[in-house]
């Protein structure tokens, strides 16, 4: 699946998007954040405070318990500051 990062999550990870293939036991958005946090120092830094991270699946906001099965694009970003 395709993953996108925005704002300081993007800066900390060091890339704006990538394709990932997490193991089958990674079922929810929260599981995916925990798995990403274990993929190296840059990821550990980006996801060090998982409760702050917001997520969207296919352009719609989701909660950490949302299932990732069937998702085309998952995005991770900080709380929004537009307007």
């Amino acid at each position: 699946m395709k993953v996108k990062y925005f704002a300081w999550v993007r800066e900390r990870v060091g890339k704006s998007e990538e394709t990932i293939d997490p193991p089958a036991n990674v079922r929810t958005v929260g599981d995916l954040i925990a798995w990403l946090a274990r993929q190296g120092e840059t990821y550990a830094h980006a996801f060090e405070k998982p409760l702050i991270i917001r997520a969207a699946i296919d352009h719609a906001h989701v909660q950490p318990d949302a299932a990732i099965a069937g998702a085309r694009e998952i995005a991770f970003f900080p709380p929004m500051t537009g307007g």
Partner: protein
């Protein structure tokens, strides 16, 4: 007549008078137009801000704004909604965002404009980075923005 909806995300500035004309042109059922513009402040907590840079999530930003505009149109009897949000580098005094709501009567237009801004601030995927003498830093989300959005779900 059907309600008019315009949503744009762009680097360029917008002309408020021209956008208002587009919302009322050719129709006689509009009695009120409310205009809100968000403008880049030159200081934050006594610190001088030299510019803001706005990042967005292309695709989702448009979808989120459209979803909230549809909600506003189903909740209030609006004849039109325009939302324009700028991205890129913006200097103090420049426009950031425009929300226009049009209706037969002012109350719906006032309420819908406030609803839209509260929702956009808390839910639309845009992020501001501030340039100050101390360097550049991402702007922290304000908890009162979430509270402002949440009050529309009560009662």
């Amino acid at each position: 007549m059907t309600a008019h909806m315009t949503i744009r995300i762009q680097e360029a500035d917008f002309d408020i008078a021209r956008e208002i004309s587009a919302l009322t042109k050719g129709r006689t059922d509009v009695g009120a137009v409310v205009s809100f513009s968000g403008v880049c402040r030159g200081s934050e907590d006594d610190q001088s801000v030299s510019a803001l840079t706005l990042e967005h999530y292309p695709g989702m930003a448009e979808a989120e704004i459209a979803r909230h505009a549809q909600t506003a149109m189903s909740r209030w009897p609006l004849t039109g909604v325009t939302v324009i949000h700028r991205v890129g580098r913006i200097s103090p005094g420049e426009n950031i965002v425009l929300v226009l709501t049009a209706s037969r009567h002012r109350q719906a237009a006032f309420q819908a404009a406030e609803f839209l801004m509260d929702y956009l601030k808390a839910n639309a995927p845009f992020w501001k980075r501030e340039e100050t003498a101390a360097g550049t830093a991402w702007v922290d989300a304000r908890s009162h923005d979430d509270a402002a959005a949440a009050r529309w779900t009560k009662s």
